[in-house]
Protein backbone atom coordinates (compact mmCIF):
# COMPACT_ATOMS: atom_id res chain seq x y z
CA UNK A 1 0.00 0.00 0.00
CA UNK A 2 1.16 3.53 -0.74
CA UNK A 3 0.45 6.77 1.03
CA UNK A 4 -1.02 8.15 -2.18
CA UNK A 5 -3.61 5.33 -2.08
CA UNK A 6 -4.96 6.92 1.11
CA UNK A 7 -4.68 10.66 0.54
CA UNK A 8 -7.78 12.39 -0.78
CA UNK A 9 -9.88 9.26 -0.18
CA UNK A 10 -13.41 10.02 1.09
CA UNK A 11 -14.07 9.19 4.76
CA UNK A 12 -17.50 8.03 6.01
CA UNK A 13 -18.66 7.53 9.59
CA UNK A 14 -20.51 4.46 10.88
CA UNK A 15 -23.82 5.89 9.74
CA UNK A 16 -22.62 6.54 6.21
CA UNK A 17 -22.25 10.28 6.71
CA UNK A 18 -19.41 11.77 4.72
CA UNK A 19 -16.86 13.48 7.00
CA UNK A 20 -14.54 14.73 4.29
CA UNK A 21 -11.37 13.54 2.69
CA UNK A 22 -8.21 12.15 4.24
CA UNK A 23 -5.78 15.05 4.18
CA UNK A 24 -2.75 13.79 6.05
CA UNK A 25 -1.56 10.80 8.05
CA UNK A 26 -0.11 11.08 11.55
CA UNK A 27 3.08 9.04 12.04
CA UNK A 28 4.51 8.28 15.47
CA UNK A 29 8.05 7.01 15.80
CA UNK A 30 7.32 4.20 18.24
CA UNK A 31 6.97 1.28 15.86
CA UNK A 32 9.09 -1.87 15.60
CA UNK A 33 12.85 -1.20 15.53
CA UNK A 34 14.32 -0.67 12.06
CA UNK A 35 18.07 -1.27 11.72
CA UNK A 36 19.75 1.99 10.64
CA UNK A 37 16.75 4.19 11.46
CA UNK A 38 15.63 3.39 14.99
CA UNK A 39 12.03 3.03 16.14
CA UNK A 40 9.77 2.61 13.14
CA UNK A 41 7.13 5.06 11.94
CA UNK A 42 3.69 3.81 12.92
CA UNK A 43 0.46 5.18 11.45
CA UNK A 44 -1.46 6.53 14.45
CA UNK A 45 -4.35 8.16 12.66
CA UNK A 46 -5.26 10.77 10.10
CA UNK A 47 -6.96 14.10 9.73
CA UNK A 48 -10.12 14.22 7.68
CA UNK A 49 -11.69 17.43 6.52
CA UNK A 50 -12.76 19.59 3.69
CA UNK A 51 -9.34 19.69 2.03
CA UNK A 52 -9.37 23.40 1.66
CA UNK A 53 -6.38 25.59 1.01
CA UNK A 54 -5.43 26.01 4.66
CA UNK A 55 -5.14 22.26 5.19
CA UNK A 56 -3.12 21.85 2.03
CA UNK A 57 -0.70 24.51 3.19
CA UNK A 58 -0.39 22.84 6.60
CA UNK A 59 -1.81 25.70 8.65
CA UNK A 60 -3.92 23.29 10.70
CA UNK A 61 -0.93 21.15 11.65
CA UNK A 62 1.82 21.92 14.09
CA UNK A 63 5.06 23.48 12.89
CA UNK A 64 3.53 25.96 10.46
CA UNK A 65 3.63 29.15 12.51
CA UNK A 66 3.20 32.04 10.23
CA UNK A 67 2.40 34.51 8.96
CA UNK A 68 0.24 34.63 12.10
CA UNK A 69 -2.61 36.44 10.40
CA UNK A 70 -2.92 33.70 7.79
CA UNK A 71 -2.67 31.04 10.50
CA UNK A 72 -5.54 32.57 12.50
CA UNK A 73 -7.59 32.97 9.34
CA UNK A 74 -7.11 29.39 8.13
CA UNK A 75 -7.53 27.82 11.58
CA UNK A 76 -10.94 29.47 11.90
CA UNK A 77 -11.91 28.14 8.50
CA UNK A 78 -10.65 24.64 9.17
CA UNK A 79 -12.21 23.92 12.55
CA UNK A 80 -14.43 21.31 10.99
CA UNK A 81 -11.49 18.98 10.49
CA UNK A 82 -11.51 15.79 12.57
CA UNK A 83 -8.70 13.60 13.84
CA UNK A 84 -9.40 9.91 13.33
CA UNK A 85 -7.37 7.38 15.37
CA UNK A 86 -6.42 4.48 13.11
CA UNK A 87 -8.17 1.96 15.38
CA UNK A 88 -11.47 3.60 14.44
CA UNK A 89 -11.14 2.48 10.82
CA UNK A 90 -13.61 -0.34 10.16
CA UNK A 91 -12.68 -1.06 6.55
CA UNK A 92 -10.95 0.45 3.55
CA UNK A 93 -12.09 0.37 -0.03
CA UNK A 94 -10.42 1.74 -3.16
CA UNK A 95 -12.01 5.14 -2.87
CA UNK A 96 -13.44 5.22 0.65
CA UNK A 97 -12.58 4.69 4.29
CA UNK A 98 -15.41 3.58 6.56
CA UNK A 99 -15.19 4.24 10.30
CA UNK A 100 -16.59 2.28 13.23
CA UNK A 101 -17.71 5.46 15.04
CA UNK A 102 -19.97 8.38 14.30
CA UNK A 103 -18.62 11.78 13.31
CA UNK A 104 -19.87 13.21 16.63
CA UNK A 105 -17.58 10.85 18.54
CA UNK A 106 -14.49 12.22 16.82
CA UNK A 107 -12.82 15.16 18.44
CA UNK A 108 -12.14 18.32 16.45
CA UNK A 109 -8.68 18.38 15.05
CA UNK A 110 -6.07 20.26 17.08
CA UNK A 111 -2.96 21.65 15.33
CA UNK A 112 -0.57 19.81 17.67
CA UNK A 113 -2.49 16.53 17.61
Amino acid sequence: MRLSDLTRVAVYDVGGKRIGRLNDVRLVQDGPYVEGFGAGLRVAGFVAGSGRMGERLGFNRGGVDGPWLLKVFFLRLERRGRFVPWDKVARMENDAIHLSVSAAELRPFEPDE
Binding site: R26, V28, F37
Partner: protein
Amino acid sequence: MTAARKLWAVLDIMDRQLIDRQDRFAGTVDDVELAVADDGTISVTALLAGPGVLARRMRFHRLGPWLERFARWAVPAESEDPARIPLGRVADIGSAIHLSLDHEDMATMATERWFRDNIIDHIPGSTDAAE
Protein backbone atom coordinates in the same frame (compact mmCIF):
# COMPACT_ATOMS: atom_id res chain seq x y z
CA MET B 1 11.98 9.07 28.75
CA THR B 2 11.28 11.39 25.83
CA ALA B 3 8.01 11.32 23.93
CA ALA B 4 8.01 9.57 20.58
CA ARG B 5 8.55 11.87 17.63
CA LYS B 6 5.47 12.70 15.60
CA LEU B 7 5.39 13.53 11.89
CA TRP B 8 2.78 14.28 9.26
CA ALA B 9 3.35 11.96 6.31
CA VAL B 10 2.27 14.41 3.60
CA LEU B 11 3.50 17.62 5.20
CA ASP B 12 6.84 16.35 6.55
CA ILE B 13 7.86 13.59 4.11
CA MET B 14 6.12 13.76 0.73
CA ASP B 15 8.03 15.78 -1.90
CA ARG B 16 10.94 16.43 0.46
CA GLN B 17 14.44 16.71 -0.97
CA LEU B 18 16.58 13.60 -0.60
CA ILE B 19 20.23 14.18 0.33
CA ASP B 20 22.85 11.44 0.10
CA ARG B 21 25.57 10.92 2.71
CA GLN B 22 27.93 13.22 0.80
CA ASP B 23 25.35 16.04 0.93
CA ARG B 24 24.43 15.74 -2.75
CA PHE B 25 20.89 16.06 -4.08
CA ALA B 26 19.41 12.64 -4.72
CA GLY B 27 15.87 13.26 -5.92
CA THR B 28 12.68 13.83 -3.96
CA VAL B 29 10.22 11.60 -2.11
CA ASP B 30 7.42 10.76 -4.55
CA ASP B 31 5.47 8.40 -2.31
CA VAL B 32 5.69 6.39 0.91
CA GLU B 33 5.35 2.62 1.16
CA LEU B 34 3.16 1.32 4.01
CA ALA B 35 2.80 -2.23 5.27
CA VAL B 36 0.12 -3.79 7.45
CA ALA B 37 1.39 -6.04 10.26
CA ASP B 38 -0.38 -9.14 11.53
CA ASP B 39 -1.81 -7.16 14.45
CA GLY B 40 -3.32 -4.59 12.08
CA THR B 41 -0.87 -1.78 12.74
CA ILE B 42 0.43 0.07 9.70
CA SER B 43 4.02 1.24 9.47
CA VAL B 44 6.26 2.97 6.97
CA THR B 45 8.60 0.49 5.28
CA ALA B 46 10.22 2.59 2.54
CA LEU B 47 10.32 5.89 0.73
CA LEU B 48 9.54 5.69 -2.98
CA ALA B 49 11.13 7.84 -5.64
CA GLY B 50 11.35 7.94 -9.40
CA PRO B 51 9.35 9.11 -12.40
CA GLY B 52 7.12 6.03 -12.44
CA VAL B 53 6.17 6.47 -8.79
CA LEU B 54 5.29 10.12 -9.33
CA ALA B 55 3.25 9.34 -12.44
CA ARG B 56 1.28 6.67 -10.57
CA ARG B 57 0.67 9.09 -7.71
CA MET B 58 -0.59 11.67 -10.21
CA ARG B 59 -3.14 9.05 -11.33
CA PHE B 60 -1.49 8.29 -14.69
CA HIS B 61 -2.55 4.66 -14.38
CA ARG B 62 -0.82 3.42 -17.53
CA LEU B 63 2.25 5.67 -17.68
CA GLY B 64 3.20 5.14 -14.02
CA PRO B 65 3.45 1.34 -14.05
CA TRP B 66 5.15 1.49 -17.49
CA LEU B 67 7.83 3.85 -16.17
CA GLU B 68 8.30 1.66 -13.09
CA ARG B 69 8.82 -1.38 -15.35
CA PHE B 70 11.30 0.64 -17.40
CA ALA B 71 13.23 1.54 -14.25
CA ARG B 72 13.39 -2.14 -13.25
CA TRP B 73 14.72 -2.96 -16.71
CA ALA B 74 17.33 -0.16 -16.52
CA VAL B 75 18.63 -1.38 -13.18
CA PRO B 76 21.00 -4.36 -13.12
CA ALA B 77 19.27 -7.56 -12.05
CA GLU B 78 21.14 -7.73 -8.76
CA SER B 79 19.82 -4.35 -7.64
CA GLU B 80 16.83 -3.94 -5.39
CA ASP B 81 13.48 -2.53 -6.44
CA PRO B 82 14.45 0.70 -8.22
CA ALA B 83 11.67 2.69 -6.61
CA ARG B 84 12.42 1.80 -2.99
CA ILE B 85 14.62 3.41 -0.38
CA PRO B 86 14.18 1.15 2.66
CA LEU B 87 13.50 3.03 5.89
CA GLY B 88 16.73 1.58 7.28
CA ARG B 89 18.68 3.71 4.77
CA VAL B 90 17.09 6.94 6.05
CA ALA B 91 19.44 8.72 8.45
CA ASP B 92 17.32 11.72 9.38
CA ILE B 93 14.02 13.37 8.51
CA GLY B 94 14.16 17.14 8.78
CA SER B 95 13.65 19.99 6.36
CA ALA B 96 15.32 17.57 3.93
CA ILE B 97 15.63 13.80 4.21
CA HIS B 98 19.20 12.61 4.69
CA LEU B 99 20.14 9.13 3.54
CA SER B 100 22.89 6.83 4.70
CA LEU B 101 23.96 5.85 1.19
CA ASP B 102 25.65 7.41 -1.81
CA HIS B 103 23.92 8.86 -4.83
CA GLU B 104 25.64 6.24 -7.05
CA ASP B 105 24.35 3.37 -4.93
CA MET B 106 20.73 4.43 -5.05
CA ALA B 107 18.54 2.25 -7.17
CA THR B 108 16.02 5.10 -7.33
CA MET B 109 18.48 7.10 -9.46
CA ALA B 110 18.81 4.28 -12.00
CA THR B 111 16.57 5.91 -14.61
CA GLU B 112 18.60 9.11 -14.46
CA ARG B 113 21.82 7.14 -14.78
CA TRP B 114 20.43 5.17 -17.74
CA PHE B 115 19.50 8.36 -19.60
CA ARG B 116 22.91 9.87 -18.81
CA ASP B 117 24.87 6.84 -20.00
CA ASN B 118 22.76 5.85 -22.99
CA ILE B 119 21.44 9.13 -24.36
CA ILE B 120 23.00 12.30 -22.92
CA ASP B 121 26.59 11.06 -23.18
CA HIS B 122 26.08 10.33 -26.90
CA ILE B 123 24.94 13.84 -27.79
CA PRO B 124 27.82 15.77 -29.42
CA GLY B 125 29.20 18.37 -27.03
CA SER B 126 28.01 16.58 -23.92
CA THR B 127 31.50 15.58 -22.78
CA ASP B 128 31.05 17.07 -19.35
CA ALA B 129 27.32 16.39 -18.97
CA ALA B 130 27.88 13.51 -16.61
CA GLU B 131 30.11 15.55 -14.31
